[in-house]
Every structure is written in C-alpha cells, then in structure tokens.
Assembly symmetry: C2
Homo-oligomer: 371 residues x 2
Amino acid sequence: MNAGSSGDLGRVLVVGAGLIGTSVALALRDRGIDVYLRDRDAAAVRLAAELGAGVPWNGEDHLDLAVLAVPPSAVPAALLDAQRADLARGYTDVASVKMQPIAGAEALGCDLATFVGGHPLGGRERSGPAAGRADLFLGRPWALCPTPTTKSDATDAAMSLARACGAEPVVLSSEDHDRAVALVSHAPHAVASAMAAQLSDADPAALALSGQGLRDVTRIAAGDAELWTGILAANVGPVADVLDRIAADLVAAAAALRSAGGAEGAEGGDAEAAGIVTELLRRGNAGRSHIPGKRGGPAPSYAIVPVVISDRPGELARLFDAVGEAGINIEDVAIEHSPGLPVGVAELSVRPDDADELVRRLGAQGWSVHR
Amino acid sequence: MNAGSSGDLGRVLVVGAGLIGTSVALALRDRGIDVYLRDRDAAAVRLAAELGAGVPWNGEDHLDLAVLAVPPSAVPAALLDAQRADLARGYTDVASVKMQPIAGAEALGCDLATFVGGHPLGGRERSGPAAGRADLFLGRPWALCPTPTTKSDATDAAMSLARACGAEPVVLSSEDHDRAVALVSHAPHAVASAMAAQLSDADPAALALSGQGLRDVTRIAAGDAELWTGILAANVGPVADVLDRIAADLVAAAAALRSAGGAEGAEGGDAEAAGIVTELLRRGNAGRSHIPGKRGGPAPSYAIVPVVISDRPGELARLFDAVGEAGINIEDVAIEHSPGLPVGVAELSVRPDDADELVRRLGAQGWSVHR
C-alpha cells in the first residue's frame, strides 16, 4: 500500500453508521484520519463512536470528503442535503448499484462535479455498526464511477478513501458497473435462490443425499429476501438480461437431454443433442476459470494434503504445530467433518513444492496423511 | 460404528480399480476383509494392489459380494458376466444413476434377486486408483435401491459394505433415487455451469468485481464436461424437469423485475411484481435451510470468531495453540486471505457458549479478535 495514498484526506464525514459506514470509519481511524459520524439513528452513532469509529458529527463543514453510506434509494436526498450545507469538498456513496442513484441525484439538482459514485465490494452476513470491521474491504475491489461532469479532485479523494480502507480502486462507468455486478453478484444471487427454491418442498430422504456441491451452489440463497429484492429491482435491465440468457441455456439443455435420452438412453441417443449439453458445460468450465482467485490474480494451484484428525480440543493445534516446525506455510485449510463419527479430514493447501516434504514429516510423526 | 456390521463380509470382489473401486477396496482392507481386484486395465489392478487395496483377482468365485465399480453403461454386461461365472452370493454397483443400469440388467437377462443397486455419495476432483482414499465415504450417505425381486440377503450384504466403508446406508427406490440426485446433484451442476457460462466471454474488468459468492455458486462448474454430460444424459427425465422449473422461475423473476422497474425505478414500481421476486428469494431461503449440514443433521449454528493473522509459517499453529490451551474445540475454520497484503482473517467456528471466553483469552494474548 502506498503510505502517501491517504495524505490528502484529513477530515472525513461518514453519513450512515451501519455495517459499511462503520467499517469505512474504522479503517480511516486506523490511518489516523479524523472521522465524523452522522446518522438519523443517534444510538447507531454512539455505538460506532464507542467502537472507535470516530466522533459524532456536530455541524462541522468544509471537510475533505463526505461518504454517504446510506441505502441506494436514499443517496440522492442525502447528497443534496450535504451539498446545500457545503459539508465537504467531495462526495461519494457506497451503494451496490450506480446508475439509479446518479440519475436520481441529477434529477434532484445535485452538483455532479463534486460527486463520484462508489461501491466497495465487501460485506458480510451481519449488519449494523457492531458488525463493522476495519478490514472489511482489505484487498477487495472498490468500484468508482465518475460521471462526465465529475471533477478529478472528487475522484482522487474517493480513490484515497478506497486505498485508505486497503481496497483496490477500479474506475469504470456506472453503466459498466451495473452490468458487471449484475453478472458477478446479482444474477448469481437469483440463480442460487432459484436452485435452492427447488428444495423448499423436497422430500427429506432426497435432501439426505446432499453434498458439498449443493451447499456451495446455494450458500448465498440464505441472504435476506427483502434486501435482495431491493438490490435486484435497482438494477433491473442488466440483471433481467443475464437471467433470461441463463434460463434459455437451461431450457435448451433440458430439451437436448430429452432428445438425446430418447428410448435408447445416453449411448443410443442423439450425439448432436448431447453436444449441446457438453458445449454448455465447457462454456461453464471456461467461465469458471476466468474468475480471479482470492488474492486477486488467477486462482493459484496449491497442493492439497488431506490429514485425518480427531474431533477433540487441541488436535488442530498439534497438526499446525507439526506443519509450523517443518517451516511450511499453510495457504488455506478446509475441514471436512465426518457426520456421526469422531474424526474428520483437514485439507491443507500448501505450495506444490512443499507438499512432498509435508507428507513425509507428518507421516513420520504418525499423522494419517492421504496423498 | 457397529463393530459387527461387516461380520458377514469375509471375501469381496471389486470389479473396476478406479477412484471409487479402489477407495471401497481400501476401506474394506482397513476392516480386515479379503479383497480381490479385477479390471480390464492390469496396470490399474497392480497399482491398487500396491496401495494396499487387495490382491489381483485370480479366478476366485463364490465370494460374499461383488462390487461392480464400472461406469453406469457398463454395469449390465459386468453383472451378467459375473453372475454367469457365479463369482459371488450378492452383487452391487456404484453408479450415480440407478434406473438405467437396472433396466439394462433386466433387459440382458441378469438375475435381479441377487443384485441391489448402490450409489456411494462421495468423490473428489481427481480420478484413478492413485486418488483412492479409505475415508472417501466416511460419514457420507450410500444409497441402496433394491428391486422388487431383490432378496434381503443381497441388500444386507450391500448394507454391510456401506457400513464397512463408514457410510450411512439410505434405502430407496431407483425412481426416488434418480429424482433425488437430479435435485441435489445433477441439476445443481447444470445450473452452476449455466451461471459460469455467462462469464466465459465477460470483460475482465467486470470479473475483477467478483467475490466469494460467485466463486461458491460456480465451483462445481469446473467439473469434467464429458463426464457430466454422461451423468446428465443417464438421468434425463428428472434432470430436465428440474431445469425447466428453474428456468421458468428465472424467466418469471426477470419479467417481474422489468415490470417492477418500469420508469420509476425500484420504489415507484409495481409492488405485486416485486412480490414475485421476493417470493422466489424466500423459497430459496427455505430450501437452503432444509439442506442437512456437514454432520448430517440440520446445519448447526456455531459462533464465528474472526482473528487477524499474518501470512507467515507457524501463525496458525500459534493461534490454535492458544485456542487449545483454552480447552475450546474449533468446529470449523475458514481463512480469508487479503489479496496483495501479508495479513488474513481466520474465522474460527466454535460452540456459541465458548465464544466469549475465546474472545477474552485471545484478546488477552494480543490477538486481533474482531467480534
């Protein structure tokens, strides 16, 4: 991180002391920036302040930047209010869609020269100031969508904000942003929900055959239904387009399967129809491979070393002690529990060069290593 | 596990020394059962035998059970061949669909009295005997589908097999089985692929906004396209039905969004149309909540304690040492890396009763605990 990246942010106002606003404020405080907190809910401000997120706003104006951490639909009015009071030199928001708030701000007569739309890609399943974390945006993208009239001062201030939170600024148009999040966030949510919806009246005997694949595909379907209706409804065109394309692919796959299945089963079926299914799955392979990994670059290929562990206190500590003594760093760990049995498998991800040595060392110490 | 559960299995033939066959054989050997290995590929048999999975089959007959670990389409011929040579008292297979192999076996004139269809729900991204693991089925369901003519001896032997592998036998009809796996495995694979396919020609700038949700939804889309075409094509009706229902839900959601979006945006839109979207998301919530957790029962609610860790060898060991000293068991752990930065967050899942004590102990030792 560039140590000078937040040098031009000395005093920042955060409007909205929810999860995102409080997390932004905590991150700014960690960088020594003065933060003022404002919210219609005085209790939220008090809690955020007590957590170290800043001090309650008391009429201060002419600040360096005002961060409007309010719901998307509330952004235009909050911006107009702040600009009329001349609270700051620059303004940005954190809404997960960008075209609608910007259009709303323009319609209200806000000054778009000092405003740049922002969207930090980060969040968690909990909400409210108590869930705020200074590291919520660490290493995550932070989209910035300047309008044609936005001055570079405002964009620079928002970029400093993103970097001060440890995020990577990504500048793109609001149209490109909304299409992008429709593809990588909003449509996936609807698709996961549609898959999970098929389970809502399923026979428990069928669900007993569930595995990790189904759990992964449907994990985000647990999200708040009202909140997500609002998000989807604020990005209608791009989301509906992606959903229609996916539905068309599924209908085509179902028709091809029925055609290929025929009377003869898989092998006697229509090769061309089976080809339609294979081609969809291959496009899926390709799309999957394009998703950046957790570290931002392409997903790294770690070697996975599975180790059988017992389900008692200290077992993981013993295992990681053994790994640490070998001087090997664990890049990731996943624990597969064994339902009904007192053992599980810890899958250790290590650099491929380290795997053989790790297997040897753990095996020599009596660990049950399966590789 | 019931120590006597595999008492009636003394000598077992495994036909097919791939991932599943070798894993079954390794599990049986761990229980002291004599295993004979047979495969058209002599090298696969030699490798499996060298790994401790048993001894090469040498014409032995009148065994207790023959496990046909061959592809679904090869099951009928393998069963006929084995029954004509009177190799075993009972026969079972491991194919991931059940109606088609059973219908094929009946058409070939196999004796269904001594055969019970089986499907161990377990697997991994790798294949071949070298990937075999004795614990591959530990705690996983193992579906058994007796036909109306299957005698109880054969079913009992297959149940002993499942238990000897540490799996939980689930008895259901082949029709119910195929409908169930269409819902919990085959359709989710197609849906994940259709979502991922939308990313195959996406702008890298859009993909840069990807997060963990998208990674989870599309993870299984990385599976082998040809292999999965075969699986889907062998379960045509049930899979196509689920895909059509999901496609219809997505089309309805897209239409409702466009209707609710209108000229006024989310808030001025049609509440009835938005209600269609909310209702789909709520059904998704309900369906998601019905999926059994890793331990087989409903997903337990653990408290999650996030701890900031540095990315150096021994850091996790130090952390787990500290947890172990507190006498607290870690039920699960997930590591969130921070792309481009030398820190990450270890999210420790513990019993809710243990969380406060853990936070206190770790905090007192200088760990950065965010809860």
